[in-house]
Symmetry: C2
Subunit: 320 residues, 2 copies
Amino acid sequence: MDKPYVAGIDIGGQTSKLGIVDARGTVISQTTIRTDTHSDVNLYIEDLSNALTRIADEVGGIDKLRGIGIGAPNGNYYTGTIENAVNLIWGGCNAIPFAKLMREKTGVPVALTNDANAAAVGEMTYGAARGMKNFIMITLGTGVGSGIVINGDVVYGHDGFAGELGHTTAVRNNGRLCNCGRVGCLETYTSAIGVARTAREWLEASDEPSVLREISETITSKDVYEAAAQGDALAIRVFEYTGKKLGESFAEFVAFSAPEAIVLFGGLARSGNLLLKPIEEHMNANLLPLWRNKIKIIFSQLKESDAAILGASALGWEIK
Amino acid sequence: MDKPYVAGIDIGGQTSKLGIVDARGTVISQTTIRTDTHSDVNLYIEDLSNALTRIADEVGGIDKLRGIGIGAPNGNYYTGTIENAVNLIWGGCNAIPFAKLMREKTGVPVALTNDANAAAVGEMTYGAARGMKNFIMITLGTGVGSGIVINGDVVYGHDGFAGELGHTTAVRNNGRLCNCGRVGCLETYTSAIGVARTAREWLEASDEPSVLREISETITSKDVYEAAAQGDALAIRVFEYTGKKLGESFAEFVAFSAPEAIVLFGGLARSGNLLLKPIEEHMNANLLPLWRNKIKIIFSQLKESDAAILGASALGWEIK
């Protein structure tokens, strides 16, 4: 039987997005379900497979699916398990054999990884990294995630958890405390939350005028972006600082895998040159001469509303 | 015709070592020639192939060779060229098509990479990393080199130059100036030269008694090791500091590729627990919880006198 489609499922802490995708990266049908309403994973899987069956019916039924790709927090590609996912209400501390459960429920082959790795596969399959064999995906969201592609394959490492570049050290001494327990993680400076925190800290530390001062307590990275876009000097410097931290770290990543490009994804990636210019400046200042001005920094080309589904779905094509 | 051997050639600035190796990693015959007596690469290649022919005669002639593996400064695996190798008298600034020249001269297939990548392949083929698919080789010599293995393959990156972990940043602010032009490179703190420099700086900065004080000007990493082995407090602290810098950096590398082990090679790797204990302590203190106490730090198992030849030779088996 012909199987021209894949399903992509993006599992977030509150909601899960799922969709049916064709080989050109068109999302044919999609829906969302709540992630946080079941404390038992089997009930969640029941909901999820029912929703999947409904949207698959629009393309002729679940038998039309070649595979299901799933992006999930702490998803392990090798084992198909979700491990220690404290943000998932049914996650807990044990390794949940999620891919196996989903395969048993649907009869369709399942591949699972974390959301940033899924984004990298999505970008390579449908987006800005088409044709690239070596690149690094950096997702700038609530946290900072990464997916590393070498020779056309995502790097999963010895244990399935490689590519935690948001938890490399951006500030070695007196750095910010990270949720992971480490200090000075890149994520604490360059995630959406990190950007807002920088702005709040700087507002508290001086009397410099800024349009952000009125909303100091509830400030978000979007507020900082809008202020910077309007020419607010403090907000612009927050982006320069964020870009500096990213650029310095990117130089380290290049020394590791010599990628053709680093691809930026997520809300902050919409900041354009406000972020891109300082990233390029500080990355190049910290690169070995052989790489200077040769590594591309580019933005994701996936439509943001579809990206999570597309990224996960791309894994579905790769199932052997 | 049966081809049961490979040749390994390690090109250094002053001398080049070459040997014939069997599948078990036994160096059957070997010799050395000078690297620095010819300013023209063709004359050097003439010398090299003559020397190779001589040692190959001991195993029945050059026709018995399946391949020639070469480890050389700035060697590019993809192109077989040696580029910008300022330490080679015939290196210059142009890309020398070394693998091609050597193949034309000998009629044997040639693979070429830098010495640290060759060491990684050697360790995987004959040494401590046998059976490992994901590990990082760190060579602690005059400089600090690295060879990264992911899924059983050396990472060469987009351009053939990946794996320059000696030139990642160990100290971000007011770091030591590196020969590469960057500041704070891991190499400036943890190479043999870096260790001696730390000792000299600390001797100058205090009046603390130390057996190293008598030889302060000409101090080498070997002197520091011997002093530490005898219980000299300052020398022991130099190793603790060196191990701390390595351990902190190793935590970053693990976040990238989640290796099973990091393999140490080179003179400093003979320091044993003096270096190993602080590396393990500071690596684990900086790792994400999921990797803590799970990543092995091990020492090369290749005999140091044979290692350069073995490393290069291992490439010879991999030629498709």
